[in-house]
């Protein structure tokens, strides 16, 4: 066997290096020029989402079904909540077109719709029917249908549909039906009374559990109480109202409930709150409907069958906190028609009913009322009631900042087990200063 003698000099080295570099770059570049094309010829739609088990039914059952029905391929890309938010914002800002459909927290709608990251669904030809749960559908409009509008938004602009509800998530009262033997507590005072009577920390039995960690979790916990006691976040044209007498009374009541909560709830997030209920250590909590599917599973719950659901109790009002999973078609979506086809298909009442029967939380009234669905998912009737009295976080892109200020104050109040008025006043001053600086009247 003869070996070919290889001569190497500067020129051949340079030539070979450049050709290797060039081919490598080409290999990287070519697939990046466009997304992988569909093998079926009807295109592909890419979903971007945060990871959440509430979407499992959709991913595992309904997307394959959609592919089969329409011949449109689907791809599901997900990340944790914060990472997905960043990715989606980047995609929206750069109009990169990496995704066709964004899955969004309802809090993000003002930011995404207002910044032009979402396509106008009405212009694309989507017209919602009357079967949608009204409060859920309203969250997809921008500017908002009700309430004050943030600076820079034309006060006379017509609300336009940019998003649709995907999962009808809302806070329900989860309560132990063996403790509340005569039915769910009608008022918050009933919750406090039962907690006082039945709590026994030596046996790790607590009348109440809540999320107290700063930011969004503790604000969501407080939100229901605040409104139940007749308070609100803002009055009129963005005047901060979370330090009103009703708001202070609500927070002081929250602190009284805390006497019957597990130690350390100021560091609890949803996972610890849910686990406390599932382990049978607490009698009541306001939790997202995403937990409902686990309460009857003996592998996950020590009190399977002993947790029931109801709309949150009332004081002077009865409200529930909305926390919907929304979807919108990206303004830069490469396949808007495919995405629209998915919306038309998935949001039809027939598919929504199938979705509910498969364990999903729908957003159509008829699906909530379907007997088979209610038999399988016994929380659906209460979920529909809660959605109908549900309130969402204030519709402004600056809500996160306000939530951070209020969330820090609430967390400090929980830790100090007092100073409700002082903390809320300080937070209100800080929030007012921020809003005024940002151009809100806030007066």
């Amino acid at each position: 066997m003869t070996r070919k003698r290889i001569r190497s000099n500067r020129r051949t080295f340079l030539r070979d290096s450049l050709s290797v570099l060039g081919s490598t770059a080409l290999v990287q570049f070519v697939p990046g020029c466009g997304r992988t094309t569909s093998t079926t010829g009807r295109g592909k739609i890419t979903f971007g989402s945060y990871a959440d088990p509430a979407q499992n039914v959709l991913k595992e059952v309904f997307l394959p079904e959609f592919e089969k029905k329409t011949g449109i391929e689907t791809e599901w890309v997900e990340a944790d909540f914060s990472s997905w938010f960043q990715k989606a914002v980047n995609d929206g800002q750069t109009q990169a077109g990496a995704f066709d459909i964004y899955v969004l927290d309802d809090l993000w709608m003002p930011r995404f719709a207002g910044a032009g990251y979402l396509a106008n669904l009405e212009e694309l030809g989507f017209h919602p029917d009357t079967d949608f749960v009204e409060s859920a559908l309203d969250l997809g409009y921008w500017p908002p249908k009700t309430g004050p509008r943030q600076p820079g938004i034309d006060p006379k602009a017509r609300p336009t549909l940019f998003g649709l509800p995907l999962i009808g998530d809302v806070q329900l009262l989860f309560y132990r039906n063996d403790v509340y033997a005569s039915g769910p507590p009608a008022t918050w005072d009933d919750v406090l009374r039962m907690a006082r009577e039945r709590s026994d920390p030596t046996k790790r039995q607590y009348g109440w559990v809540t999320r107290g960690v700063k930011g969004n979790p503790v604000v969501n916990s407080y939100f229901v109480l605040l409104h139940a006691f007749g308070g609100q976040m803002f009055e009129g044209d963005w005047k901060v109202a979370f330090n009103s007498p009703a708001a202070i009374e609500a927070l002081e009541f929250y602190l009284r409930l805390l006497d019957y909560a597990p130690p350390g709830v100021a560091e609890f997030d949803s996972d610890q709150e849910g686990q406390t209920m599932l382990q049978g250590n607490a009698f009541a909590a306001t939790m997202w409907t995403g937990w409902c599917g686990q309460v009857d599973d003996p592998n996950k719950s020590k009190v399977a069958g002993r947790i029931s659901f109801s709309v949150p109790p009332k004081k002077v009002k009865q409200v529930a906190k909305l926390g919907l999973f929304m979807t919108g078609i990206a303004a830069s979506a490469p396949n808007k028609q495919g995405a629209l086809e998915f919306f038309n298909w998935f949001h039809s009442s027939a598919v929504q009913t199938q979705f509910a029967r498969a364990g999903g939380t729908p957003c159509k009234v008829s699906a909530f009322k379907d007997e088979d669905s209610c038999r399988k998912s016994r929380w659906l009737p209460e979920t529909l009631k809660a959605l109908s009295i549900g309130l969402a976080s204030p519709r402004t892109a600056d809500w996160y900042k306000i939530e951070d200020i209020l969330g820090t104050a609430l967390n400090q109040t929980l830790i100090e087990k007092g100073n409700a008025k002082r903390r809320l006043d300080a937070a209100a001053s800080e929030a007012t200063a921020f809003l005024k600086n940002a151009g809100y009247s806030a007066g």
């Binding site: 914002v89 600076p151 700063k214 350390g264 951070d404």
Partner: protein, 343 residues
Amino acid sequence: MKESHPTIMSGPPGTPGPAPGWSDGEVNTSADSLALIEGEGGQAPPQRPEVAPTRRRRVPLILLALLAPTALFALILTILPLGYAVVTSFRSFRFGQPVAFIGLQNYFDLFRDSNFYRSLGTTLTFTIVATTVEFILGMMLALLLKEEFRWQGLIRSCLMIPMVVAPVVVGIVWRLLYSSDVGLLSYGVQLMMGHPISVLSNPSLALPAIILVDIWEWTPFMFLILLAGIQSLPQEPFEAARVDGAGPWSTFRYLTLPMLRPVIVVAVLIRALDAFTVFDQVFVLTQGGPGMATEVSTLMVYKTAFRFSQFGYAAAMAVTLLILVLFLSAAISRSLQGQVRQV
């Protein structure tokens, strides 16, 4: 001691003489080699051979061509984003309004922001305490494990484990340990004192708890670098010191520490800069709470940019932090070099 005879104890130029704790003339004879190694303790550092003036050498084109891609990448990945961040810091990003140039307004707002100063204080406390403890523990471990012994490899490998675990995973593991309801720590305290302890919801304990996590995770890094540094030191000065009757403390203080100076500077600098930008553990463990007790600067920048969408303000914070980091690294470097010189 003769002025012309360099010793390992000699201080900075202008402060000749023996350092305390080591008798005059005991190690002079063996210090020549060290002076050559250190190049600073001696009065006459080794001189480079004089190069005769020659014609100016031209940089070959091939070298420039080969360096160009790296330079281009550095420009694209480092310089341009940095420049963009600086430009962004002069702009206002208000939702619903066009992006506007506002000059130094973001910086003026920042310097009036009490939360920023509070977060800076928290970050500096975290950095100083964590780096100091990690250095001390890392040095002790390195000195302990520098000798050959049985199971040495196994012990060293075990010590490395925390460092190779992803910071987020470390955060989750420690969150479970600290958890007031099911945490091991709380359980232990309850057994001993009869009541559980809430570490992460206690403003006095939350920051120390996060510092402890950082120490657990990054002491091995300090240990590894210092061990490598110690093992690369020449043995002759140590043998000479042993012959001259120097004890372990004297050997450490007058030989190991000064000779290890460059390694110490690098290790402390890397750790301090890393600690200054801590994010993952705080994000997973406390989200900056309870209250503002663990709100470090990076978390504040993250929230300002990605939650509040105030990109201009966040960029001003980031640029200010960058300048502070540069000052911090210069200060650490000068301080450490100065201290070791005085030894």
